[in-house]
């Protein structure tokens, strides 16, 4: 028996056909739109959001040391020999500028007092403790290199491998043997305030100056004064008192004079009328915040001259 197809009325068939076609066309248009959207995303480089689960916080086990120094700039200073410097260059030095070659771009974040010599610090190295580390964070000294570490002293300059240079750890002095700099800035002394022998501090500091002259031949050396602590910190009864700091700074100035290197009284840039670090400059009375690091930085930028031989 032959199956006889049942036929719907023609208006129903036409309606169904129309609806099917309409839906198909809409769907096709939607698909093309989606594809076009994907192409646009690829062309503009918009990255997809990751669907990976949010990883949990990570905790770590202790390991090794650190501090940082930027790639060195190895050109010799255009002028200035440590042996030729005047005996003392203090707060208001009688500098006259020697000719310098090829000034480079000014440090990016240096506001306030304009730099006398843009690019001056590009071949400079700054040696110091945690306060110098702070200066590195908030400085405007261009491409200066920092050989600094927490708790650095005139002794640990030779013994603590706190410097990471070319992925190797070494002492500050080892780093200074490896790289040649155009200028050397040193600030040491606050961590030595508790030492029982002040003369040991001075003799060790003198040894550093001698080695700097040897390994950084021809580079002007600047001994920076120790920055003061806050009045509150000074009065707290610890080893960090502004009286001790003043005493140490007098000795450092004389040391600079004896060794014929420059002395920079950077403390004058950050102290208040009483000689203390203002309370608003620091949370612990010792380490400078960004604003006061900038004052320190501005002082250095304003004292960039190499003294003339006379």
């Amino acid at each position: 028996m032959r199956y006889r197809r049942r036929r719907f009325p023609s208006w129903i068939r036409r309606t169904v056909l129309f609806l099917v076609c309409a839906v198909s066309l809409c769907a096709l248009a939607g698909g093309i739109f989606t594809l076009a959207e994907k192409i646009v995303v690829l062309e503009t480089g918009a990255a997809p959001s990751s669907t990976a689960p949010f990883p949990p916080p990570v905790s770590f086990a202790p390991s090794s040391t650190a501090s940082f120094s930027s790639p060195p700039v190895s050109f010799a200073p255009s002028s200035g020999s440590s042996s030729a410097l005047p005996k003392e260059v203090s707060d208001v030095p009688d500098f006259s500028l020697p000719p310098r070659s090829a000034p480079q771009s000014a440090p990016p974040s240096s506001a306030g007092k304009p730099a006398k010599n843009p690019g001056w610090f590009d071949d400079a190295v700054l040696i110091g403790d945690s306060r110098t580390e702070g200066l590195e964070l908030f400085d405007g000294l261009g491409n200066a290199t920092y050989l600094a570490g927490k708790g650095l002293t005139v002794e640990t300059v030779y013994t603590s491998p706190i410097i990471k240079l070319d992925r190797q750890r070494m002492t500050v002095m080892q780093a200074l043997k490896q790289k040649k700099f155009g200028k050397v800035y040193v600030m040491l002394g606050i961590n030595e305030l508790g030492w029982s022998s002040f003369s040991t501090f001075l003799s060790d500091y003198g040894k550093i100056i001698g080695d700097l002259k040897h390994y950084q031949k021809g580079a002007p050396i600047y001994l920076q004064s120790i920055l003061p602590v806050s009045a509150k910190k000074s009065a707290s009864g610890g080893i960090y008192t502004n009286e001790k700091i003043r005493h140490a700074n007098d000795a450092i100035r004389k040391l600079a004079q004896q060794n014929q290197v420059c002395y920079l009284a950077v403390d004058t840039a950050v102290r208040d009328v009483s000689g203390a670090l203002p309370e608003e400059a620091s949370t612990d009375g010792v380490h400078l915040n960004a604003e006061y690091c900038k004052k320190w930085c501005d002082y250095l930028k304003a004292h960039t001259e190499v003294p003339n031989r006379k």
Binding site: R13, L17, V20, C21, S24, L25, A27, L28, G30, G31, I32, T34, L35, E37, K38, V41, A46, A47, P48, S49, S50, A52, F54, P55, P56, P57, V58, S59, F60, P62, S63, S64, T65, A66, S67, F68, S70, P108, S109, S130, R131, E133, G134, E136, L137, F138, D139, G149, K150, G151, I162, K164, S282, T283, D284, V286, H287, L288, N289, A290
Partner: protein, 158 residues
């Protein structure tokens, strides 16, 4: 009539092929503003030290990173009195973010070594940092209590 159904079937097949990939992602790629995350963390999380933003050049020096691997970085550093820190990175891609995450881990290890004899009480913060990576985003927070920072990160990055 049969031809018409054939055409309809072809159209449906074409639609399915074209829309297969597109249906899996209905919205454009979501992006996170790491500047905002870092700013909000600095404002909302309790820090004992004063934190200040550092420039990108210093960030790349401090973390030993190639600046080409970064799209954006906002890093706040403490004065040195504490180990407190907020670092938010948007890397070029997920692979670069892995490298940034490793660099952040090294930074924490370096800080531990630096603080262990200098300010031993900071070690508690450094032992429990918040270090998260989601896609190309990396966040490091060193603070006494990083739970509020985790909430902010979840809100912005999830």
């Amino acid at each position: 009539m049969r031809k018409l159904f054939l055409i309809t079937a072809v159209l449906f097949t074409a639609f399915l092929l074209l829309s297969a990939g597109g249906c899996s992602r209905k919205s454009p790629a979501k992006t996170a503003d790491m500047d905002k995350i870092a700013d909000e963390i600095v404002q909302q999380v309790k820090f004992t030290d004063q934190l200040s933003a550092i420039n990108l050049k210093t960030v790349t020096k401090l973390y030993d990173l190639d600046s080409n691997s970064l799209v954006k970085a906002k890093v706040y550093e403490s004065t040195g009195a504490t180990a407190e820190e907020v670092a938010a990175f948007e890397a070029k891609d997920e692979k670069a973010a892995e490298a940034v995450r490793s660099a952040a881990s090294r930074r924490v290890e370096d800080q531990k070594a630096a603080f262990q004899n200098y300010q031993p009480k900071e070690m508690a913060k450094l032992k429990t940092p918040l270090l998260v990576q989601k896609g190309k985003y990396v966040l490091l927070v060193v603070a006494d209590d990083t739970a509020p920072a985790k909430d902010i990160a979840d809100r912005f990055l999830s």
